[in-house]
Amino acid sequence: MFASLLGRLRSVVGASHVSTAPGDMSNYQYDGSADRALPQIVVLPASASEIAGVVAACNDARCPYVARGAGTGLSGGAIPEQGGVVISTARLNRILEIDVVNRLAVVEPGVVNAHISEAVKDQGLHFVPDPSSQAACTIGGNVAENAGGLHCLAYGVTAHHVLGCEVVTPQADIVWLGGKTQDAPGYDLLGVFIGSEGTLGIATKVVVKLTPLQQDRRTMLAAFPTVEQASQSVSDIIAAGILPAALEMMDQLTTQAVEEFVHAGFPTEAGAVLIVELEGLSGTLDEVAADVGDICLRNGGDIRRARDEDERHRIWLGRKSAFGAMGRLGSNYYVQDGVIPRTRLPEVVTEVVEIGRRYGLKIANVFHAGDGNLHPLIVFDDRIPGDYERVVAAGADILRACVRHGGSISGEHGIGMEKRDCMSLQYSRADLALMTRLKNVFNPGGLCNPAKIFPTSRRCGESARTHASGVLPPEVATATGPAF
């Protein structure tokens, strides 16, 4: 069976674009998460019809398959847990059309996120979603994960910036969901496809919205004695009707590590630091900036404005280096991704600190505070037996706290393999049954990216790491995630 599948795949995409070499297989066994699993075959198709051919071949051979972009995902969405075929979109990397008048672009799924904005910046446009990995991650992955980013508070996530997708369905049909024009009649299949983590089909073309660049921006850094005061400022800013383009928070452990790492100029004695970025027409930001300043001062903060582009760059470099800086605190880190109503930030942060104490783990906190999206960074040493398992258990406790406060177990990293057993924290059996119904509409055979999103027999917080040794190889252990 394997030989016949291999032969058919070679005839679909060409022998030079099919690999079974062990070295290649090991390159495709992981993403940015801690899990990994080896595929048997990797194919690199160059068109939608080739992908349809690959899917049809897999269906006939009853072989699981999973699409993969840059592999920067943080929840195991692109890991071939059940083996089978990895379909790389690396060769589908062309920007097919840029329509400045209608503010859209048609791109292939393997196009790197940042390359779109780069291609249209001279026209005064950009593609808004800016996940931390935007220099490497691809649009296909962004669509699969409904990626967010630092600026989703004001502008929304990927779902708000995609008009349509050409999709190869698990039945190997090529269909369009949505298109260039808004309001395609019928059920909003595009809406459910985006964020379905590659379980409902493979995007082969994506129509993205382009947004005009803002004329001016103001970046401010506020330092507070405590996380509570910084959180209160966030709530007050939103309640005052101000919607900054970005509103990011870091606790003291993070800023101290970052300062040692990149010297961004963060005040290391502060309990928390808030980055506020305002955007708008030139000459109109003073009013809001003054209001933000007043709110921060009222809450005991000390605020300063980035005087020039260089200072702004250093502030953002500091924020974006937060994950990498964890190397200063320990040999490994595990990034959690939960969401809470932002007004609950102080209570939940207290709980996170308590969880760290309970498990004897150091936890640094980075927040997309405007969205209530927490990224606790749990520092550990994977060489110590049992350390990773404690980290996973602590991470699950953090998610329990998020759900208890009315939040979500993932704001932007997805469920994938990493959090599938925590889905029942947030959803009832009936809720999950509805999701199963939808999955069966698209993917009744279950071969398209199997074993993702839906709970297995494990409990939330049980280590789901699937590799045999229980120890990560050094190249994964030192950087379980993209640059920030």
Partner: protein, 453 residues
């Protein structure tokens, strides 16, 4: 799917159904008449007070093999295809009220039978609003607005309502109640199935509660009204604005007949062929700069007359403008209302084609998003005029198919026998499977979505 129909509805049977459903139905034709769908009076009307009651009602009705038409305020009951028969209307308006609103979280959870206007009123106290301006704003319910996927011109700045739906609690035809999405502004946990219910016209299930993302009301709002002799130049100006860093809240374009219906404009330049209205908003300084920038763009695009509307006049104007999209101002007995969606750059061509095909049409457009609302005057319907209407619309269908515009009908006079237009590339097979999976008994308005779904 051919369904059983509720045939012998004597009072004891209705009482029995009512007991099982936990809510007493309306049964007398006189009582059911106000709930008629395109002139067809339902046999029973249930008005559950809670989602749980709705679930019991749905289970009871589905067990009888009858069909259910979900209804909010009934503002869009003239949407084609019209039903041949209506078994049960499930009236959502008693499931209403704001359940939770935390201003600093920018979220609100409401029962879907809540009127849009009531929600806006409740949010206003905190300086917030749900950023949409749908037609029938005074009456429409949140469930109705979402099910019909109507979006006003504010979509230019805030996106369509679908993007601001965070979570939803729904009841399916087997009576199961499920939650989808989240109650926070950002979540990617599991499939976003709420999106399917937006625009499903109640054919997949009953929406009980909805969590929405709200927005701060801009501190200042101003309007720019610009007159144009030619449609192309007005559309060019709209495109230039949409691609500029000005970020206006909304842009609408009106032909002479539809501009005439905007009371706040009386006296601006009533003879203008085309009127472009741009809604600006933000901080005080921001709104002023925006309005200045917009005025410069429309002047340099060749506008013959430019007026500024202050916040009060803009508000007054918008009361009419929002009603011009989707038929709210046009009596369903006299007008056929439809939407043509195209690329923004094609709006001018769409309007020009419409004026050739239907010289008496009243047209309003949201040019930045490529949407044209056309209101075609038609006579009262009998069998022959119904056929005439279908043949009159054929050139429009042909045009949309040829140019790949999306056509949809909002309202047609009672007695017309129109099917929902289907674009050639629509993934109908998948849609059929969605319907079959979520509503396997075919309980919710079978055959009234599109392509027989």
């Amino acid at each position: 799917m051919r369904r059983n129909e509720l045939r012998s509805l004597n009072l004891p049977i209705a009482d029995e159904l009512g007991k099982r459903a936990g809510t007493r139905p309306r049964v007398r034709p006189l009582d059911c008449a106000p709930y008629a769908v395109a002139g067809i009076v339902p046999k029973l009307v249930f008005s559950p007070r809670t989602l749980r009651e709705a679930s019991k009602t749905i289970t009871t009705i589905a067990a009888e093999g009858a069909s259910i038409t979900i209804r909010g305020a009934g503002t869009k009951h003239l949407r084609p295809p019209h039903p041949y028969d209506v078994d049960v209307v499930l009236d959502s308006t008693r499931c209403s009220g704001v359940l939770e609103h935390t201003p600093a979280d920018l979220t609100v959870t409401v029962a879907a039978g809540t009127r849009f206007a009531a929600l806006q009123e409740a949010l206003r106290a905190s300086g917030q609003f749900f950023p949409s301006d749908p037609p029938f704003a005074a009456d429409t319910t949140i469930g109705g607005m979402l099910s019909s996927r109507v979006a006003g011109a504010l979509r230019q700045r805030y996106g369509a309502p679908r993007g601001n739906v965070l979570g939803m609690r729904v009841c399916l035809s087997d009576g199961s109640i499920a939650f989808t999405g989240a109650r926070v502004v950002k979540s990617v946990a599991g499939y976003d199935i709420a999106k399917l219910f937006v625009g499903a016209w109640g054919t997949l299930g009953f929406i009980g509660h909805v969590t929405l993302k709200v927005a701060p009301i801009p501190r200042e709002q101003l309007g720019i009204v610009a007159s144009f002799a030619r449609c192309e130049t007005a559309c060019d100006a709209a495109l230039r604005l949409a691609s500029s860093p000005l970020f206006p809240l909304a842009t609408t374009l009106h032909d002479r007949a539809s501009a005439h219906r905007i009371r706040a404009l009386s006296g601006t330049e009533p003879g203008a062929h085309w009127t472009l209205i741009v809604r600006c908003g933000g901080t005080r300084a921001g709104a002023m700069r925006q309005a200045d920038g917009v005025a410069n763009v429309v002047k340099s695009s060749g506008s013959s007359n430019v007026d500024l509307l202050d916040a009060d006049r803009l508000h007054f104007a918008w009361q009419d403008i929002e009603e011009l999209a989707g038929g709210a101002m046009y009596p369903g007995s006299q007008y056929m209302c439809c939407t043509v969606a195209s690329l923004p750059s094609q709006v001018s061509a769409v309007l020009s084609s419409l004026s050739v095909l239907f010289p008496d049409a009243n047209c309003t457009s949201h040019p930045a998003t490529g949407i044209v609302y056309a209101h075609l005057p038609v006579a009262g319907m009998d069998q022959s005029s119904s056929r005439t209407l279908a043949s009159q619309l054929q050139p429009l269908l042909d045009l949309c198919e040829r140019e790949r515009y999306y056509l949809s009908y909002h309202a047609a006079p009672v007695g017309s026998d129109l099917r929902a237009p289907v674009s050639a590339d629509a993934p109908i097979l998948l849609m059929r499977r969605v319907k079959a999976s979520l509503d396997p008994s075919g309980t919710f308005d079978p055959g009234r979505f599109m392509a027989g779904i």
